[in-house]
Every structure is written in C-alpha cells, then in structure tokens.
C-alpha cells in the first residue's frame, strides 16, 4: 500500500477559494463592453494603473486613488519598490522579520541590499533587538508582513505597530508592509494597518503592498502599492522602463470585481472555508506536538512550529519525505544572518488546502519523524 503524501508545502489558494466562474462572467462582460481598450497598450506617461481599479482600491482602503499604483502581482511591487528605495543608497541595509518571505529576501539582495533579520516573536518583531540595530545603523527600509505572516502566521500587535511607526519617524526609515492575507481574519479584531497609523504620525513613512491573489484570483496577477502622494508617479516611471504596464483587461476585471461586491462576497466565502481548517490545524498541533507553535494565527494560511530535532534539517526533511510528508525547507525563510533557535527546525505548515483529517495525519507523521530524529 502506498501512502498518500501530505503536502505541507506551497501556500497557494485551494481551487474552491477562487470564484472562477464569476470572474469568467465578469471578463466576458468587460470584453463585450470595451474590447478595443483592453487589447491596446495602456496609456503611457506616468501611468499608475487603470483609473477605475485605482478608484476601487482607494475606496477599499479609504485612501485617495492618487496614492494607489497597480502592478503585475505583488511580487512585482516588491521588485519595483526595492529598485526605487535602494537606487541611490550606499551599502544599503534592509531589516526583515526572521523568519520572513524568502522571495522578498532574494529580491532585496538582487537590488544590492545587505538583508538582516530581526527575530520574530508571537506578536511581531522583537523591538528591543530592533532598537539596538537602529542605534547602530539606520536601514534603507524595514520589511514586515504584519498580518498572518508568511511563513509564521504571526500578526503584529497594535502596540508593536504603533512603536514601529514611531521608530520610522524617529530614525527616518521607510516601512514596507506587505498585506496579502490581511482580509482573511477568522476571529479576533484586526489591528490598524501601519500605513494608516503613519498618517497621524509626523515624519513616519510607510508603503503598503496589497494583492488580490488571496481574495479573488492569483491568475489575474493584480498587486498594488499604497504610498504617499508622489510614490505612484515615481514607480510608474520605473515600471514604464521595466514592463510598461500590467495587462489592461485583467485590471478592468479586478475593478469590476471590487465594484460589484464579488471580492467582498468571496472574501466572506474564503473565511468560512478556511476557518474550520485553521481551527483543526491549531488543535492538531497543540494535541500532537505540544507547545511548539509560534502563535495561534487567527487568519491567513499558515501555522508554524519550531520543532526540536537532533539531526540536521536536511536529513530530517529527507526522512520526512520518505514517510509521506512534503515540507518546505524552513531555513530558507531566514535571511543569511539568522536561524531558528538552536536544536530546532522551523516548519511552515500551510492549512488552507487541507481538511482537518489530512492536516492531523500530517502532524502525526511529523511527530513520528521528530521522535526518530530526537
């Protein structure tokens, strides 16, 4: 008998979280109404994105549409922002949460930054460590994923958010907040968006990166940046000599999906779909592994653990693979100068695509593998 592998690997939405038929209908409606516009080039000359989409995103986040810039997915936003913020910096440093999103670190390094990790606690980065680091060197920017972080599931507390924004003003660095999972809260209350806090803090500088991948569709590749007036124009100039513009059709479809409530409805649907998966995952980890999780996420896709082992990560992952467990290498989520606590592996356990029983089976295999490796 072959054992079905349990996939604790990639964080992509389950198909049932993507309203494909409704998006297809929207697309056909747009095609019928304005085929000419969507197959031509977008306007050039500091073009910051489809006007209707920027208005809808502005309304969604209660900001002026002139502060919104649309990108080919949120990773492209990170790439443009890194190019923009690191352009004239000499030996720039970027601080990130440790662990953090691995592709972000790759992007910052490619743009010449020395990336350094600040340990992440259950409620956000360790502020004592951060303050210490700021006294030594002020970074070009600090990158945080404050809501249901990928890979850890951690949400930065309201208090820590206020202090981060205050430090941004005190030391004069930019904060990049990346919020792809923010709308997927299953319980509790959302803390304030950092960009919103910055508006009432003199001298603070926050840029927000958003995405429709987790509330509508990843295939549409719609991401965006919210920044102070001026930032969208600067990014537009850079984008125009990188990829010109995102595809007009996909932007118009996204705008309609925001305007007529499809995104709101689908977000509700995804919350209902994922909440029991989240609850089952938290329960399974607690019951089977004990108190090794970094936090109880209350939203998003991920729960994560620091699991005590005695072998090295490589051997552990290989052994787990044989036991029918596909895991992502947790050390990849740490920048080069950081690591999980000694004697542990870091494991990201995505629950969004697994039902409670599958997740529990995965965790049992994990416990068995850890026991053999202890």
């Amino acid at each position: 008998m072959t054992v079905q592998t349990v996939h604790f690997s990639r964080g992509i939405p389950p198909l049932e979280a993507i309203p494909s038929t409704a998006i297809a209908e929207h697309t056909s409606a747009v095609l019928a109404a304005e085929p000419d516009r969507v197959f031509q080039y977008a306007p050039i000359g500091r073009h910051t994105g489809d006007q209707e989409l920027r208005e809808q995103l502005g309304k969604f986040h209660s900001v002026d549409p002139d502060r919104v810039f649309v990108t080919n997915g949120s990773l492209q936003a990170l790439d443009l922002l890194a190019a923009h913020l690191l352009r004239d910096a000499v030996e720039p440093q970027v601080l990130v949460e440790a662990p953090t999103y691995d592709r972000a670190v790759q992007i910052f390094e490619r743009h010449g930054a020395q990336v350094s990790g600040v340990p992440l606690r259950h409620d956000g980065v360790d502020l004592n460590v951060l303050r210490e680091r700021l006294r030594t060197k002020v970074p070009a920017f600090v990158y945080v994923i404050p809501d249901f972080q990928n890979p850890s599931g951690v949400t930065t507390s309201e208090d820590k958010r206020r202090e981060l924004v205050r430090l941004s003003a005190e030391y004069g660095f930019t904060i990049l907040e990346d919020i792809p999972y923010r709308e997927l809260r299953f319980s509790g209350t959302a803390p304030t968006r950092l960009g919103e806090l910055a508006e009432s803090t003199d001298g603070a500088h926050v840029l927000t990166i958003g995405s429709l991948s987790k509330v509508l569709s990843p295939g549409l590749r719609v991401g965006y940046v919210i920044g102070p007036p001026g930032t969208p124009h600067a990014l537009a100039a850079l984008a125009e000599s990188t990829y010109l513009s995102p595809a007009p059709l996909l932007q118009v479809v996204a705008a309609r999906a925001l305007a007529n409530g499809l995104i709101r409805e689908n977000t509700e649907h995804v919350r209902r779909l994922l909440r029991p998966r989240h609850d089952a995952a938290v329960e399974a980890v607690r019951q089977t592994l004990g108190d090794v999780h970094l936090c109880v996420p209350e939203g998003g896709y991920y729960i994560s653990v620091h699991l005590p082992i005695r072998t090295d990560e490589e051997s552990f992952l290989a052994a787990a693979r044989k036991d029918g467990l596909a895991l992502t290498r947790g050390s990849a989520f740490y920048p080069a100068d950081s690591a999980p606590p000694s004697g542990t592996v870091f494991l990201r356990l995505p629950f969004q695509a697994l039902d409670g029983e599958e997740f529990a089976e995965g965790v049992r295999r994990l416990a068995a593998a850890a026991e053999r490796a202890a």
Copy 2:
C-alpha cells in the same frame, strides 16, 4: 481656425490593426473550457511559460519549445535578460545601434551597464566601427533591432547579419536581437533571423526577443525569448523572484490565436493595412524633404530622417509643436556617447497610424519648420 495636430510621436498600433472582437471570442472560449486553470497561479519551479504557447511559438519560429521562455511583454524580457547577462559582469559594456530604442538603453543602464552606440547605416551598424570597438573591449552583449528598426526603420542586411554572428563567435559576446516588427514586411525578402544564423555558426551566441504586440495585441502583454537550451530555465528562476509568471489566461489566449491561424490572418491584414501608409510616407518624405531619410523601410512602423537645422533641437521641437506637429525628441534615441550628424536633428516619423494625406501634411509642416530653422 485651429489646426489639427499631426502626431509623429508614439509607435502604437492603430486600433484597426488589433483584432479585438476575435481575441474576445477566443478569450470567452478559453474561459468556458478551463476557468479553473487560468485564474490559479501558474506552476512554479523553473516554469518557462504556458506549455501550449511555447509549443506554438516554437512551431512559429521552427525551434524546439524548450528553447522558448514567455514574459510579460518583450520589455520585461529585455529587463530579465539584462539582469541575467550583466549579473556577474565587472564594469560591463553594452553596444547598441545609434539610434536605438530608448527604453532598452534605460534598462541596460539600470542594470549597471555602460551603454555605447555604434553608428547605424541604411543596412545595419557600421561594421568597421564595431570591429574597432571589439578590438578595444569585448562587450557583455550587443543589442540590435535588425528588422524595420525602432526608431529608424533600418533593416540589417543579410551580409551584415552573417558578419555580426561571425563576430559573436570570434570575440565571444552575446547578441540580443529584438524582433517585434519582423513579420510586418510589405515588400522585398526577409533576411535570415540572427538566432537562426547562429545555429550553424560554432561559438556564436544569439538570444532572440519576440512580441505579439504588433501582430495580435499589445494589451495581452505577451513577449518571449528564444535562446539556447538552458537560457529559459535561468530566466525562469529570475522571473520567479521578480513577478512569478505572466497571467495564465493571456498566455492561453495567445496560444489559441497562434494555433488556429488568427495571428497569421491578422498579420496579413496588418500588412495590407500598412503597406499603402508606408508607400505614401516614403513618397512624401522624398518629394518634400529630399534625400534625408536613413532608408526605405519596406516594413514596420517607422521612416526616419536626419533633417538639417540651424537652431538647437529643443527650439526646433517647440516651434514645430506650435505649428501643429507632435514629434518625439530624436536625441533620446541616442545613447549618451552618440548623436545625430552635426547640424541635423534625428526625427522618427511613425506612419502606421496616419493615412497618406495626414502624413504628407505633417511632412509639409516639417519642411516649413526646417526652413525657418535653417
């Protein structure tokens, strides 16, 4: 009476060159057949593009699909290739035609290259100058637009192509050939694609950048690279940490448009549409301005001139603007170390969106402005 401005400015397809209704029908068919796949993330792990699209592009160019990499438009291909080719180069130099496509120069410079121009003649770059330059320093790559070049309209002759490819092998540099206009030939015979010549030349290294913007639709943002085996995978790794992937939907639509002949038919249609515009433009320039054009294009969107003036470019463009002529600043098409012949301005005159009478009127105004500035 207000004078209608004649726009000798941006090189975008006229709306009647984009088969919007047919593309819309293809899109609806794709949406009906496979809505789930096109709204999800594309696969990751060295994903080089939609399989069907790569097969169709491979067939179109008579190359193995494994040599094709799909991008978000061809500008993004240039950006990725620049990052790829310049990554480990120390004080890299890039040689370009002078004049050349301005955005390409911006991209190469952003990736750290020192960009230098080789004068462009009516049949391609000046090979004597190029050989001289190669003896001094071997560039990271040479960038050429060999068919109906933007901005000049020049096509590189078969002989010069063979010599370029031979030099690539002799000196060990890469050639980037950018061929967005190649299919839009109105008369004469197409010389061989550089990438094809490289296949029978030991040691030559050519990467081809293609686009569907001029034969199908710019709004689909489908570009691609054809390279030796290995290049697509290297580019895929880079793309995955830049923007993940192009939108699946647009790739599938493009694949269908290639598979069922829409692109072939539309290319024929565009040739029929633009040929009389080309002929009228060539005639108008000859009749009104005399022998100042760089070449008779035989295809593409552009004819260009070196027009003798006595004032400076800035004043000339401002005066022309007042006379109802919108022109692109020609010096922008020259890299920093190059310039049009002394005593002339370089002017790109796009004919693809103007009927013969409009173009002739524009050229008459140009002649009048030049007379006043002479």
